[in-house]
């Protein structure tokens, strides 16, 4: 068995699987830094996935991306209105938003695609190889033959870092997350900042859902996000609320997801349900491990 081939294949799959997680986690990072924990992210991702599927069938993958982002934006908007506008309890509201999204997407998907679903009829994004870099052995095909959305997800890492830590709006955002009282005293419109952060996070969540459909799985199925939105929240914790950390954590989870294929390629027989459960177990481990010393890095206003 050509170990180089297996490794390259494994890395490529890991990166591909990590992409929606990275996008969603980056979005969640932004609104958590502002002090808002959005458990409706899962709902935003699912809505984005369905919207992207419908949009792509209607007018190609780029329209799918646009509609997907819009759907995520809307879902986050509902969450933001309830939690920031009216002051409702964040965590339960987020759970309710996700529940509502599951019901809504389940219904709309049936209407749009019928009971069998869209199957393979959705136009998707193919891989976009980068000319010179792809020639690098092992790493080349893994990293540089991915879809445009994957490259975009990587670009967002330094961009979000620059925004959060080197711009004034980013400072206002972080201030809203660390001490709303002090921020308000300094003139920061905390509620508006949080709302914008939540909308941005939701938009990225919608993009994540779109990438799941258009650049990874290739089709839509009910409840296809399967908790990725919640895993993204765990990724933010594991990444200690920093873009670089989030990137590494997302890759870790991508690797866990790709493990199934590696095992199959190596001929190892393991019940597939183990791989099904692995990301969630891994998330729990990560939360526990980080819990001891990492939580002190959490924005102080988070969850209040």
């Amino acid at each position: 068995m050509d170990i180089e081939l297996v490794l390259a294949g494994f890395l490529a799959a890991a990166v591909r699987i990590a992409t929606p997680l990275l996008l969603a986690a980056t979005g969640e990072l932004i609104n958590e830094r502002a002090g808002v924990m959005n458990l409706g992210l899962e709902g935003a991702m699912l809505a984005g996935a369905l919207a992207a599927a419908i949009g792509s069938v209607a007018g190609g993958p780029w329209l799918g991306v646009l509609v997907g982002v819009g759907a995520g934006f809307l879902v986050a908007g509902i969450f933001g209105a309830v939690v920031i506008g009216a002051g409702a309890q964040q965590i339960i509201a987020g759970t309710a938003v996700t529940m509502g999204s599951i019901g809504l997407t389940g219904m709309v998907a049936r209407t749009a695609f019928g009971p069998e679903g869209p199957g393979l009829t959705i136009p998707t994004f193919g891989p976009l190889p980068i000319p010179v870099l792809r020639e690098i052995p092992v790493v080349g095909p893994a990293l540089f033959e991915q879809s445009l959305l994957t490259y975009l997800s990587w670009l967002l890492v330094p961009v979000s870092g620059w925004f959060l830590f080197h711009t004034f709006p980013g400072l206002s955002l972080r201030a809203s997350g660390e001490s709303a009282l002090a921020a308000r005293a300094a003139g920061v419109p905390v509620d508006r900042v949080r709302m914008l952060a939540t909308l941005g996070g939701g938009a990225l969540g919608g993009l994540a859902g779109a990438s799941l459909v258009l650049a990874q799985v290739g089709t839509f199925a009910e409840r296809m996000t399967a908790g990725r939105g919640f895993i993204a929240i765990a990724i933010v914790v594991l990444g200690r609320w920093r873009p670089g950390g989030v990137l590494l954590a997302a890759l870790l989870f991508g690797g866990a997801g790709a493990l199934q294929f590696a095992f199959q390629a190596l001929g190892l027989e393991v019940p597939y349900q183990l791989f099904l459960a692995m990301p969630y177990g891994l998330a729990l481990l990560a939360l526990a491990g980080v819990g001891g010393w990492g939580r002190s890095n959490a924005p102080r206003e988070l969850g209040r």
Binding site: A93, A96, M99, T111, A226, F230, Q273, L276, G281
Partner: protein, 351 residues
Amino acid sequence: MKTLPVRATATAGLALLAGFAVLAIVLHLAGYDALLAIGALFRGAFGSTDAFVSATLVRAVPLIILGLGIALAFRAGALNIGAEGQLYAGAIAATWIGLQVGSWPAPLAVAAVWSGAAVAGAMWIVLPVLLRLRFGVLEVISTLLLNFAAEAAVSYAVTGPLRESSGTYPQSDPIAASARLPVLPGSRLHLGIAAAVVLAIVLWVLFSRTVWGFRLRAAGLGPRAAEISGRIPVKRVLGVALLWSGALAGLGGGVEVSGVTYSLFQNLSPGYGFAAIAVALLARLHPIGVVVSGVLFGALEAGAQGMQREAGVPAVAVAVAEAVVIIAVLLAEAAARRSPSRQPATPVAPG
């Protein structure tokens, strides 16, 4: 004797109305005949005695039991969002035990199945409890993630160790006759309804009349004050409340297996674990209220089937109504918190 909580009931009524209204709007926008759909929903739930007894009440049983567990946790200030997973853990245990107890007398067999289910549910929440108490990990996330792990466990069970003898479908063999619950003649309503009501009364007495119940409520309403008083070990109260919450959810799964499905298969629960959150919130965490709101949500679930049959609307759409109900109750709670002259009737949610 407490007077009927007028404000809480009015809030609940309005929340339900809002849920139906939004559902109707959404159905209409999606191109369905909203009036026909809502009508079908009511007919599915209340259209006949048989509908009410065999559809609505049967579905109310797990909703009440799980709702009680969630209300218990919420009262202590803990957010158990993993009832769905704990239900499945209980269902797995119940099925396994139910397959072993064929030679036992019926009451013993049922007792074994139910206790095993409760223990399994508690075991499924042990990890989140430890993570919370030891590492400060939000139990919301940990219980939520374990839901998915539980579904994977069920999938493994029905395709592996618990697979039916004929091996045709991913489901277990039916459990022994002695483990199955007696049924009201002429209907599908089983003994579980009695268990649900009894549990509600027990919890009501526990909350309102015992020291344990007082400690629980104090820990939930004001953890810092409780801690400072020196008399309430908040962490322990929280942990115990979560364990019992998990046990109740597991029991709910066991009751479903011994009373309705008689076997294990995937998607055994149409989202009871999440609907139960709505049940608990609508009841403002009051155990007797949970019985009433459990019946209401049982009606919603039963009606959803009718809606699917008659109007072609996917049953899952009812989750929209449930979500709106939760949000409406949260908004009412937020409004009550903001108005300084009013005390909220009961705590709706921790934090």
